[in-house]
């Protein structure tokens, strides 16, 4: 816990700076031993370049519909990519037969539900809608 202290401080600070907005968090299944994940790793997983977490357990990322405001934040802050280029990337991957994109779920609660029921799941959601079956992982490398 000592190692996590600065991160908690940062998180607290972020909460303090933006108290009016609901916070975007990355969640995994509660049985997933993962507590923290790097921005680069998240990017690799969402771009299909990695299909496992760092500890070797499989990772299945899910996506939210385009109208979700969380999605924009996730793309801008975590993936460092525009939604359009992300889409073009995956279209190219699909038709060249090089992989399948993360499944787009219809709503945020669906994503939470998917992660809570799927041990390999990973998603980005609003911190408000967190259910007992999932846990938030801290993202290292965030500004």
């Amino acid at each position: 816990m000592k190692r996590m202290f600065p991160l908690l401080v940062i998180a607290a600070l972020l909460g303090f700076v933006r108290p009016a907005f609901a916070e975007m968090v990355v969640i995994v299944n509660k049985d997933n031993p993962l507590a923290t994940i790097s921005k680069a790793e998240i990017e690799m997983i969402y771009l299909g370049k990695k299909k496992q977490f760092q500890n070797g357990s499989p990772a299945i990322p899910v996506d939210l519909p385009a109208e979700s405001h969380l999605r924009r934040e996730f793309f801008t802050n975590v993936l460092d990519k525009s939604e359009e280029s992300y889409r073009l990337y995956w279209v190219r991957m699909i038709f060249s037969g090089k992989g399948q994109p993360p499944l787009t779920l219809s709503a945020e609660n669906e994503a939470v539900k998917f992660v809570s029921q799927n041990k390999a799941g990973i998603a980005f959601v609003d911190s408000d809608g967190i259910l007992p079956g999932v846990k938030v992982v801290t993202i290292s490398g965030m500004k």
Binding site: P65, M93, G97, L103
Partner: protein
């Protein structure tokens, strides 16, 4: 090289043209045959199949791109385009099955998996057109594409590499064939080019050499060298030209030689004529001179005759008149003593005139003898001083009449010489009487002196003298200094000439030195021994 026909320039050029046409035709034919061989390799089934296989790969790429673009740009038309390309793909497969039935199963398998892939990709693309995210059905299609496409690609690639190996074999064969064809073409072309070059060079040379030679010859001929001939004579049109040029030059040279010959003849004739003319002129001059001499002689003769007749008539008249007078007065003479004495005087005159006449006639006869060459010297040992003394005696009466002193000097040894006594006397008397005749006062002197090889007699007077211009003429016959003087100084005009002739007959000389009004000196030289021996003929 002997040919059965004449190799004219026309034939040479046409021959060259024909040669190159044949060579070009042969070259085109061999090139065509070679290309046929190459295309037989390249048009084989393997190559055709390879082409289709490569087309399959391209079609796959194009379809992928079309679906990708359709989804990315949300453009349904691109899906239609992909469908069209899929038909091409089918066509290629069909062609491959047709062309290579042995591998039909393999192609059929590819066709089947392509269809599966195409259907999956198309449904995926269609779903992505909607703008929803990556739904589960999209993921399903993606999964299918994911499983089928890589193996499909792999199959096509394998096919390509299989076919490519075969194609490479064909290509090697074709390349080999092409190389051998090219090599052969290069060698044959080079060889032909060499032959062609040699032929062209030889032809040009054979045409131009005679022309050059002819041109040079023509220029030389134009400069006037008529001996020039063109030596290079080809068996063609230029050759004919060269031959006729040489003929022309021959004729020109001939004509020139003839002209030269006639020119020389003419020159010779002209020279001869000029010489003749010169001779004629010379002859004419001589004739003229002779004529003048003749005229002068004729004139002198006429003058002489005139004076002679006068000289002859005068004493004769005197004689006739006096004798006539005496005969007429004969009776009175008997009675009149005075008349009788007068008659005697007349008779003395008649005698004088008769003597004068005799002298005249003697001189004439002497000259006539000399003229006729009949005068001879009657040589004898004579004392020159004695002769001169006799002469002085015989003319002393004449000098006494004119009251002229006549002196004679004798110097040196007096040795007798061989001479014609009468003629030497005649010379001295002539000179002395001349001197007395032309001297009115002063004196007449005669001197005899020994001279080298003989004696010199000089007769000097103090008379009227002889002008310089008459010195040469005075020796000529029938000449006197002045005709008007004839009356005053009667003479025959033969005296001096006779003196000269007689002296020269003795081998001696006569010299004159005189100035008008200053007196005259005649000097006669007689050699001790008269030249010419006993007798000397004059002339």
């Amino acid at each position: 090289m002997k040919l059965p026909f004449r190799l004219t320039i026309h034939r040479k050029l046409w021959g060259l043209l024909l040669f190159f046409l044949v060579i070009m035709a042969a070259s085109v034919a061999t090139t065509y045959l070679g290309s046929m061989r190459i295309s037989r390799y390249l048009d084989s089934n393997e190559v055709e199949t390879l082409r289709h296989t490569v087309a399959l790969k391209n079609n796959l790429n194009e379809i992928e791109q079309s679906f990708n673009d359709a989804a990315a740009q949300r453009e349904p038309a691109l899906i239609v385009q992909a469908e069209q390309i899929s038909h091409e793909f089918d066509d290629h497969i069909a062609a491959m099955i047709h062309g290579d039935p042995g591998n039909a199963a393999r192609y059929e398998k590819i066709k089947k998996s392509f269809h599966e892939y195409f259907v999956a990709a198309r449904s995926g693309a269609r779903q992505l057109l909607g703008g929803e995210g990556f739904s589960s059905s999209v993921l399903l299609s993606a999964q299918k594409v994911n499983t089928i496409l890589p193996s499909l690609r792999e199959d096509v690639e394998k096919l390509i590499s299989n076919k490519y190996v075969l194609f490479e074999g064909m290509l090697t064969l074709a390349t080999g064939a092409a190389k051998s064809i090219v090599r052969r073409e290069i060698i044959v072309t080079g060889f032909i080019a060499l032959i062609g070059f040699a032929l062209v060079f030889k032809t040009i040379d054979s045409i131009l050499k005679p022309i050059d030679s002819l041109l040079n010859a023509t220029e030389e001929l134009g400069k006037g060298n008529l001996t020039i001939r063109t030596r290079v004579i080809s068996n063609d049109e230029v050759g004919e030209l060269a031959r006729s040029f040489n003929d022309m030059a021959d004729r020109l040279e001939n004509e020139r030689d003839k002209l030269e010959e006639s020119r020389q003849k003419l020159t010779q004739l002209l020279q001869e004529r000029e010489e003749m003319q010169r001779e004629i002129v010379k002859n004419n001059e001589e004739l003229k001179r002779a004529n003048t001499l003749l005229q002068k002689a004729d004139q002198a003769k006429s003058q002489f005759l005139a004076s002679m007749s006068h000289e002859l008539r005068t004493p004769l008249n005197a004689m006739i008149n006096f004798t006539d007078q005496i005969i007429e007065d004969w009776e009175d003479l008997k009675n009149n003593d005075e008349w009788f004495l007068e008659a005697r005087e007349m008779l003395v005159r008649v005698l004088g005139s008769s003597r004068h006449l005799l002298d005249l006639i003697n001189e004439l006869l002497d000259l006539a003898k000399i003229e006729a060459g009949k005068m001879t010297l009657d040589l004898e040992e004579a004392d020159l001083a004695g002769i001169v003394r006799e002469c002085v005696l015989s003319v002393s009466s004449l000098a006494k009449k004119k009251n002229l002193p006549l002196t004679a000097d004798f110097t040196g040894e007096n040795t007798p010489i061989k001479c014609d006594r009468r003629k030497v006397k005649q010379v001295v008397i002539n000179l002395l009487s001349n001197a007395i005749k032309f001297t009115d006062q002063g004196e007449v002197r005669v001197a005899v002196a020994a001279a080298p090889g003989g004696y010199r007699i000089s007769v000097s007077d103090t008379g009227i003298g002889i002008p310089e211009e008459y010195h040469a003429r005075i020796w000529d016959r029938f000449q006197q200094v002045d005709s008007s003087d004839n009356r005053k100084h009667a003479g025959t005009g033969l005296g001096l000439n006779l003196v000269k002739e007689l002296t020269e007959m003795h081998g001696g000389t006569v010299m004159l030195s005189s100035v008008p009004a200053g007196g005259t000196t005649f000097t006669v030289y007689f050699p001790a021994k008269a030249a010419g021996g006993e007798t000397v003929k004059a002339g």
